[in-house]
């Protein structure tokens, strides 16, 4: 009897989880469906869900009007570049905070996180002027640095949480065996923290991919990523929802696929240390 109750409860939990999941996914599903409609079908009232004449015309128009591959390449470069650069800086920083903490370590960690609360628009003009002076406006390198900087607190925090889970004695043993700092980081710490580093990389990659303030404000032609691609299809004076949906679907498709294949690492990374 007790077993039957447990099974029922499991079924209910599963159903509720699916319901919540579908609810969260519905806007994305609706965007994908709209991308296959005509503009008239896209605004039909009552809305048309599945039974309409599916068309690829919007994708054809978007492909013809925009150089999708250039935007895609920029997104990959910016998200990938900022993630790698961020890790190069964050791994040593998180190591020192986790294994060689000082009296101010906690304060520094909190201060780093507090910088995420600063409204980005507040520093737009200083950053913009700096970019003009350094010749970095509309450059992938400049934007990679900015994206790395805005995500650095999160990378450091995540890696710090991971490293804290690794017993310090293992590193001490390595040091006693003659390992230097480089060997300790590369051959002892990193292999043990690979799952954590992977989930940190994934999360940072997604955050950088979706970043839409700096990527719109510091780019024009050369460095514009997929966020600028989507923005070019939004209009307050004209109904282009079907084309906008096609552009959005093309922009989110790569990250959706990446997220699908790496969901285990993502969930592990986000819930690490939550339950012991």
């Amino acid at each position: 009897m007790a077993r039957a109750v447990t099974t029922n409860r499991k079924m209910i939990n599963t159903a509720v989880a699916w319901l919540i999941g579908l609810l969260i996914f519905f806007p994305i599903l609706w965007t994908i469906l709209t991308s296959f409609k005509t503009e008239a079908q896209a605004i039909a009232d009552p809305p048309i869900f599945l039974f309409f004449d599916w068309t690829l015309e919007n994708y054809s128009v978007v492909q013809e009007r925009s150089d999708y591959m250039r935007f895609l390449w920029n997104s990959i470069f910016l998200a990938g570049g900022s993630t790698i650069l961020g890790l190069i800086i964050a791994v040593p920083a998180a190591w020192s905070m986790a294994f060689v903490p000082s009296k101010r370590t906690k304060d520094i960690l909190l201060w780093m996180l507090s910088t995420k609360m600063l409204p980005a628009v507040g520093v737009l003009y200083p950053i913009y002027l700096l970019f003009i002076q350094l010749g970095l406006l509309d450059s992938r390198i400049g934007l990679t640095i900015v994206l790395m900087l805005i995500n650095l607190p999160i990378i450091v925090w995540m890696l710090y949480t991971y490293f804290k889970e690794i017993p310090g004695e293992i590193l001490e043993a390595a040091r006693m065996d003659g390992a230097g700092l480089k060997e300790e980081l590369l051959y002892i710490l990193t292999p043990m923290a690979i799952p954590g580093i992977a989930s940190t990389m994934l999360l940072n990659f997604i955050l950088a991919w979706n970043e839409a303030f700096w990527t719109l404000n510091l780019t024009a032609v050369n460095a514009a990523p997929l966020t600028a691609f989507i923005a070019s299809y939004s209009s307050p004076e004209g109904l282009f929802f079907a084309k906008l949906s096609a552009a959005s679907t093309m922009a989110i498709a790569p990250i959706l696929i990446l997220g699908w294949f790496s969901q285990k690492q993502l969930v592990r990374g986000l819930t690490f240390g939550a339950v012991k």
């Binding site: 503009e39 913009y128 003009i132 024009a220 070019s232 939004s234 307050p236 004076e237």
Partner: protein, 434 residues
């Protein structure tokens, strides 16, 4: 003969190489509007004629406004041409941020630009942006529903007639709303509409000493009239409806009347998108008999930021894109109904364009709008649906938020006006006007 041919070939090669030496790549920031997108498709024609190539940066209107403002105010130089409107042009021209366009070629015929457009895109008599297309606002109505209601729309209706017609056309059982108007917060959305409407009720934003005027009877009349009419005959949730929402409702046959941008006429009469394309009529925006109508004036125009290294090529592009020959090019390829309207006088003298159903009313609406004399009582600002001062966008966005809250029933009209009065005076004082 062969020597002559050889000389011709040599001359052609020399000219070609000279052109390629001076060929530039210009970067243009623009909005995602139908006419602008169409222009992008014809860029090859410009390249073939001049040798210059074009890189487009297309952004949503509000994003574009922020992006180009940041760039021009910091002299960033990211763009060689910017698409800007009537609000920015005189302000940026006065700041010295734009290249004057007073040396355009004779062939271009700058005198052909509609005077209202040229006036709104100038500062101290100097043209700073060339209009690509212009618009006013007018009444678009369902001829079938109007006939069913036993009414006839005059060419120049009053607000009282509009209210009566809206009530008569409203059919809640069949989801038909007598009238659809913008109520959405934002200075360019509901803010633009209510400001233009207030002009016809004798209201104004500021007196000659830059004091806010929301505590006047004229503003109370404007807002009360709008809210009463929309509550009785407007669509549910009108407080959050902007241009696109109303366009969608009208195209689906759910609005008896819609007062909005003249550019919408081509959308609602397009049978591919609109279910009511064959039963749409047009009339001037309404008035109350005080001498000012409630139509606005706007233009999307091309301007060159001061400091660009490619000024000559940028001017060539502007001359091409806003020329008579560009209009003829679009007409030849896509028909006269699709040419960019509202910029040139000669367009409205073209017999083929005169046959387009909304052409005359669009021109009449544009001609009846005067940004230099937009209010019944004198006012210190230029602009119809805005006051051309840098502080206006911020203030008007907040004011329109208060108004939208009143439309939604979250506060009374009196409360909204009192808040608008206080916040406007505070902002004007902080900016040093008072």
């Amino acid at each position: 003969m062969s020597i002559k041919n050889a000389l011709c070939a040599a001359t052609a090669l020399t000219l070609l190489s000279a052109a390629s030496v001076h060929a530039e790549t210009i970067t243009i920031a623009t909005v995602n509007n139908g006419d602008m997108i169409r222009m992008q498709g014809y860029t090859d024609d410009f390249t073939a004629k001049t040798g210059h190539t074009v890189e487009w940066v297309t952004l949503e209107e509000n994003v574009l406004r922020q992006r180009v403002t940041t760039d021009i105010s910091t002299k960033g130089g990211a763009f060689d041409i910017m698409t800007i409107g009537m609000y920015e042009t005189p302000i940026w021209g006065a700041n010295g941020w734009l290249v004057p366009l007073n040396d355009l070629s004779e062939e271009y015929d700058a005198a052909d630009i509609l005077p209202a457009m040229a006036g709104g895109l100038s500062h101290d008599g100097t043209l700073y942006a060339a209009p690509f297309y212009g618009e006013s606002s007018m009444v678009m109505y369902r001829t079938d529903l109007m006939a069913k209601a036993g009414l006839e729309m005059p060419d120049a209706p009053t607000w009282e007639f509009i209210r009566e017609a809206a009530a008569a056309m409203t059919d809640r059982d069949n989801e038909i709303n007598g009238i659809c108007l913008r109520g959405k917060a934002g200075w360019g959305e509901g803010g633009a509409f209510i400001t233009a409407m207030s002009n016809s009720f004798g209201a104004r934003w500021f007196d000659m000493d830059w004091n806010a005027q929301f505590d006047t009877e004229e503003w109370a009349n404007t807002l009360n009239f709008y809210k009463d009419m929309m509550d009785a005959s407007g669509p549910p949730g009108y407080a959050t409806n902007g241009f696109n929402e109303n366009l969608s409702l009208f195209q689906q046959g759910k609005c008896g009347m819609w007062i909005d941008a003249t550019v919408a006429a081509s959308f609602v009469t397009n049978p591919n998108d609109s279910t009511v394309a064959d039963s749409v009529g047009f009339a001037l925006a309404p008035d109350t008999g005080l001498g000012k109508r409630s139509n606005w004036l706007w233009a999307w125009a091309l301007a060159i930021p001061a400091g660009t290294q490619k000024e000559a090529a940028a001017k060539e592009f502007i001359e091409w894109a806003t020329s008579k020959s560009y209009i003829e090019l679009v007409a030849a390829k896509e028909g006269w109904a699709n040419v960019p309207p509202g910029a040139r006088t000669s367009l409205y003298e073209t017999p083929e364009y005169q046959a387009v159903p909304f052409a005359k009313m669009t021109l009449d609406s544009i001609l009846s709008a005067d940004p230099n004399n937009s209010t019944v009582e004198p006012s210190p600002y230029v602009g119809i649906q805005f006051a051309a001062i840098p502080e206006f966008a911020g203030i008007a966005t907040e004011v329109s938020q208060e108004f939208s809250a009143a439309y939604a029933g979250q506060q009374t009209v009196e409360e909204a006006l009192a808040k608008a009065q206080a916040l406007t005076n505070d902002a004007m004082e902080a900016a040093g006007y008072r």
